[in-house]
């Protein structure tokens, strides 16, 4: 929604190559960019918690049956602590700031959920997959500085350099292995743990063997106190004609090198269990102990403090925008007046690289400028959550104060609990022409 909307400073975080026309800007600390999004594919809150005649057991059972291992829960929240920008020269705008972000994605491990909910008596011979355990959670701060440069009347390029400071990272991916119970030949059942390989990584969660349970420590670590990383954004705007333009960007191409406060748990091996086979002999063999020893030897679990690299979820944006309608002019940084059209429509493609696969969102939009100071945008998005996500955004300026607010999925506002995805963004800036 926010992408290329009303020339807002925050759009530069989505594409540093977008055009801005002010002399400088200052974001209201902590309030210049607040965004929050929560989404889950395949079910909604109402599917489980609706106050109706069905039992909770029935409702959860229905949801679990519908869930697949590619469904996920995603939470993203960002707060811009500080942001500002200034025009370096006629063609160059510099912007910088610091924001904190929470980003989490958890894929729903259908097999593990089934096993926990129902057990496996009804699923003899079924291989419960461990590879479905897949999640990533990051709490981090980002210090960034970017440059937007107008190359000529057609082309504007931009880039942004970022320093990431991770306060918390929990992730697990590339797990493999299965758990199966079959009818046995030597005993009634035989249980197989086959080719198990799991790696649960944490950084920032455990310090000197103690869990960090103080929120202020996490907050402090977001500002250069945590595990550090670097990243870059690139973007461009290209005017194909005076009314038609293309813009595109790639954002968060970067990584964090986790090397402080690490605790990883690694498990690997295979184990077959048919029960305890014993003999009627006079020996005092401790069969149970032998079983435990064999399990520990064959399914090896170790903890380590090895550093690891975590890639940021890179995002791609691309948009085509056609402007039309009444021609107006607005006052620009160089005391000239720039003409603009009051209306525009176009399409945007957004994709983010997630652990299992890319996620896509295709948006069609209509943008209307009611005056030089009041802009509105309506979007229709098709994404992983729904095929009818309608969003609205408003940006307005009074004097130097700019306010914007954006709300997604308004079609579901009449019953928000039935929605798979809700997102909200708003902020206040001071814009100086």
């Amino acid at each position: 929604m926010l992408y290329d909307f009303a020339g807002l400073p925050q759009t530069l975080l989505l594409n540093p190559g977008l055009e801005v026309n002010y002399k400088y800007h200052i974001g209201l600390p902590l309030l210049s960019g607040v965004s929050s999004e929560i989404g889950v594919t395949s079910f909604s809150i109402a599917d489980i918690f609706a106050a109706d005649s069905r039992t909770i057991t029935d409702k959860i059972s229905t949801v679990l049956n519908a869930v697949s291992s590619s469904d996920y829960l995603k939470i993203n929240s960002q707060i811009e602590v500080f942001s500002a920008g200034f025009r370096f020269d006629q063609k160059t705008y510099v912007s910088f700031g610091f924001y904190q972000e929470l980003d989490a994605i958890v894929y729903l491990p259908k097999d593990a959920l089934t096993l926990a909910n129902e057990g496996n008596l009804a699923y003899l011979n079924k291989a419960f997959s461990i590879s479905q355990l897949l999640y990533k959670l990051d709490v981090l701060g980002v210090i960034h500085a970017g440059i937007t440069r107008k190359i000529n009347d057609q082309l504007t390029l931009g880039g942004r350099f970022k320093i990431y400071s991770s306060a918390l990272n929990l992730e697990s991916s590339d797990n493999s292995g299965t758990f199966t119970t079959n009818l046995g030949s030597n005993n009634i059942y035989v249980h197989y743990l086959e080719n198990i390989s799991t790696n649960f990584k944490t950084s920032g969660l455990i310090k000197n063997t103690e869990y960090v349970n103080d929120a202020s420590t996490y907050l402090k670590n977001t500002f250069l106190g945590g595990n550090l990383g670097v990243g870059v954004d690139f973007g461009l705007t290209y005017h194909i004609s005076p009314q038609l333009k293309f813009s595109g960007s790639i954002v968060d191409v970067g990584f964090i090198n986790h090397k402080k406060d690490i605790k990883n748990t690694v498990t690997s091996g295979s184990f077959t269990f048919e029960g305890i086979e014993f003999e009627f002999d006079p020996s005092n063999r401790n069969y149970w102990e032998e079983l435990e020893t064999a399990f520990k030897e064959q399914i090896l679990t170790t903890n380590n403090n090895e550093s690891y690299v975590s890639w940021r979820p890179a995002k791609l944006n691309a948009a085509v925008k056609y402007s039309f309608g009444e021609k107006r002019s607005k006052h620009c940084y160089d005391n000239t007046f720039k003409e603009f059209y009051t209306d525009a429509f176009g399409a945007q493609l957004y994709t983010v690289f997630r652990p299992l696969r890319q996620q896509f969102a295709l948006t069609g939009f209509y943008e209307k400028s009611f005056s030089n100071k009041v802009h509105a945008k309506v979007t229709y998005t098709v994404d992983n959550y729904s095929y009818y996500n309608i969003g609205v955004g408003i940006s307005t300026q009074v004097g130097k104060i700019n306010f914007y607010g954006i709300l997604d999925n308004i079609a579901e506002l009449s019953d928000i609990s039935n929605s798979n995805n809700i997102s909200l963004q708003f902020g206040f800036n001071l814009l100086f022409n």
Binding site: F278, F280, F403
Partner: protein
């Protein structure tokens, strides 16, 4: 100022118009997870010759074995098991009938539970017996850590000699019924 008022009004209108159907989050308290887990227990194969008397020794009519079996070692299993279905299967390729007695003992060898005896007739190749234990009615069962097996020949007057052929195959498993709320 007019535009700010208009924007604020529109956004407020949208936000205040949003609503939700009636939700009841408390119902999660009545949700119970009920996994049912099959688990193999002990098994053995014993030849008839095991009952033959050693040279000059007394007639062997029964043999016993105690083994550790810590099914309830996990706190989660101890606290959430509501029922256990014990399943026994015996394949008797031996022309003598016998009885299997199984006792569950705690760490101090105190008797916790005695299963109904398994009476296996001669040459019965498909003996099956099931015993359901309700934990609420047998709360002490979660303290069992050992199993005592005794196999006794029903006919103790006819001794077995080493040339007697035959094999007894014993299998056992438990289906563990767990219940836990979120």
């Amino acid at each position: 100022m007019k535009s700010l008022r208009l924007s604020s009004f529109l956004l407020s209108l949208i936000l205040f118009c949003s609503c939700s159907q009636s939700l009841d989050f408390d119902q999660i308290e009545s949700y119970t997870i009920k996994p049912t887990i099959p688990a193999s227990l002990a098994f053995f194969k014993i030849a008839a010759a095991n009952f033959s008397a050693p040279a000059g020794g007394p007639i062997v009519t029964e043999i016993t074995k105690i083994i550790d079996f810590k099914l309830f070692e996990s706190t989660f299993v101890r606290e959430n098991t509501v029922s256990l279905d014990f399943e026994f299967e015996v394949d008797n390729k031996f022309n003598r009938s016998f009885t299997v007695e199984i006792l569950l003992l705690d760490a101090n060898d105190n008797l916790i539970y005695e299963f109904k005896d398994l009476k296996i007739s001669a040459n019965n190749l498909n003996f099956k017996q099931k015993e359901i234990i309700n934990i609420a009615a047998n709360q002490n069962i979660i303290n069992f850590t050992k199993a005592w097996f005794t196999i006794s020949l029903d006919d103790i007057s006819t001794p077995i000699v080493t040339s007697n052929l035959g094999l007894i195959e014993f299998k056992s498993a438990a289906v563990i019924y767990l219940e836990t709320s979120l």
